[in-house]
């Protein structure tokens, strides 16, 4: 019999709030948390806006040693993991370490620390050779990012499968999908899964400048992220993290845990087309959606809300709209679709997990977060994108999707516990 996997704990750090409650409050109020970049002087850059997260590592309970050795993205992951465990009510001391795993997603991992170290080692790029005198003892940890899941594993003493899934901008969906597979196949009973990225650093801003993928609404940072709007001109880079406690359903029930949602289906496909480009037909994302629904044992008409990738680039929003129509047919037109990136920006590999959190909370609270900044839809984006204002509506089945460089297209289905076919 198939083992089923449920979410019993959530931890989020995202722009606009310090925890899950504030995150959800931001989303349902329709406020935006993007702003002019303050971490460095953005004036030489094409895109000068970002979703920055006000994060005080000490106040979050990290020790000076932890702060010194961990990159910012690792700090986010560890803090979210601790939150998720607390939220789940799990007794860490009672966990079987051998049956506990970690799957962490990240696209650019320790970019911030690498850049800071590079500037010192090279005297701001003076020479190709770098100066060993200024070598940090943590450089290897920042080049090889699997230290991130290791740090998360140490927070709960996990000794089961521990890995990092780094699939670019679908990492946050794929790491959770990977964790679900581990529990289903019996390699673990509890997995701390999620993703973290803190890419607001000059090298990352510059590389998205180069491909002109990021928004240039520099004079209006709060309204720079405009998914599905005719005036959208790119995504807004952001930093965030979300971690979950995933458990085998039976053991979650036995300990009386609160279940947010079952992860009933997941699939990923590649477009094998282009490292950054998308075909307009949405074929591979549609296939991933179809496969995820199939694994869930439901058809497209069961979907009550689609949490879109909705990055706000010209090509993504059309690609994705086509994929929804292709996979859900006429039902796509009746289904609310929204992009929380309009409010918290696009945190690369982390956002998939942050969007899983939003999807689970939509089921929990019966509220669909809106797409902010959507005033004049692109005529080619002609679905119900829940503009501006959150919608109170019971949702039993959520589809959340992601799309990323390398051609990755991923889809996940979450269901309310107790829904027909879902775990009670």
């Amino acid at each position: 019999m198939t083992r089923r996997v449920v979410i019993t704990g959530i931890g989020v750090r995202a722009p606009g709030g310090a925890g899950t409650a504030q995150f959800w409050d931001l989303l349902t109020s329709g406020r935006t948390a993007t702003r002019r970049i303050s971490f460095f002087d953005p004036s030489p850059y094409r895109s000068q806006v970002a979703g920055e997260t006000d994060f005080d590592a000490s106040a979050e309970g990290l020790s000076p040693r932890e702060i010194r050795r961990m990159d910012r993205a690792t700090q986010f992951a560890v803090v979210c993991a601790r939150d998720a465990v607390r939220d789940s009510g799990l007794d860490v001391g009672a966990l079987d370490p051998h049956r506990t795993g970690v799957c962490l997603g990240s696209a650019v991992a320790a970019a911030t620390s690498l850049e800071n170290e590079y500037r010192v080692l090279s005297n701001d790029g003076e020479k190709w050779l770098v100066d060993p005198e200024h070598l940090s003892p943590y450089t290897f940890d920042h080049v090889v990012p699997s230290v991130m899941p290791a740090e998360v594993a140490w927070t709960v003493g996990a000794e089961g499968p521990v890995t990092m899934v780094s699939n670019g901008c679908t990492s946050g969906l794929d790491s959770v999908g990977h964790a679900v597979a581990l529990i289903r196949e019996g390699s673990a009973d509890v997995v701390l899964a999620g993703a973290s990225d803190t890419p607001i650093t000059p090298i990352v801003v510059a590389c998205f400048d180069a491909i002109k993928a990021t928004s240039t609404y520099n004079d209006d940072p709060e309204h720079a992220s405009r998914p599905f709007d005719a005036s959208r001109n790119g995504f807004v880079l952001a930093e965030s993290a979300a971690m979950f406690v995933l458990e085998e359903h039976g053991s979650a029930r036995r300990r009386g845990a609160h279940v947010y949602a079952e992860i009933s289906g997941y699939a990923t496909r590649c477009n094998a087309y282009h490292m950054t480009g998308l075909k307009t037909d949405g074929r591979e994302m549609a296939e991933a959606i179809r496969a995820a629904l199939d694994e869930s044992g439901v058809d497209g008409t069961a979907v009550g809300y689609v949490n879109a990738h909705g990055s706000g680039t010209k090509q993504n929003d059309r690609h994705e709209t086509a994929a929804f129509k292709r996979s859900l047919g006429e039902h796509a037109r009746r289904t609310p679709v929204s992009s929380i990136k309009s409010m918290v920006g696009h945190s690369l590999g982390a956002i998939g997990s942050v969007e899983i959190a939003a999807s689970a909370l939509a089921i929990e609270h019966g509220v669909i977060p809106p797409t902010a900044n959507l005033h004049t839809p692109d005529p080619e984006c002609d679905l119900d994108y829940v503009p501006l204002v959150a919608r109170e509506q019971r949702v039993d089945t959520v589809l959340t999707v992601g799309s990323g460089f390398g051609g990755f297209q991923s889809a996940m289905v979450l269901r309310r516990p107790g829904t027909a076919g879902a775990s009670a």
């Binding site: 180069a210 491909i211 002109k212 282009h274 490292m275 950054t276 480009g277």
Partner: protein
């Protein structure tokens, strides 16, 4: 006065985005569509950025994105070089 030749442009294109192994180095590519030459939008962005830096000119993104052939790009570059004198 500086002007760019098709050979100069080809050299820059190859450096920024390579070329097919089967490409004939003596063939005139001026009017062969970028699509047929295998240069996608990314290749043209890299090429455009290189030319902007090396020649101190500005090639608007929206304009470059609409160009279909090396000749059209070359004309745009040379207009800019003439204007920049």
């Amino acid at each position: 006065m500086r002007t760019m030749t098709i050979d100069d442009l080809r050299t820059i294109l190859v450096s920024c985005a390579g070329e097919e192994e089967s490409a004939d180095p003596r063939a005139d590519i001026s009017d062969v569509p970028f699509d047929d030459l295998g240069y996608d939008s990314l290749a043209l962005m890299e090429t455009g950025a290189r030319i902007e830096r090396d020649f101190g000119i500005s090639l608007p993104d929206e304009v470059v994105a609409e160009l279909r052939t090396p000749r059209a790009l070359l004309d745009l570059i040379n207009e800019n070089l003439a204007g920049a004198r």
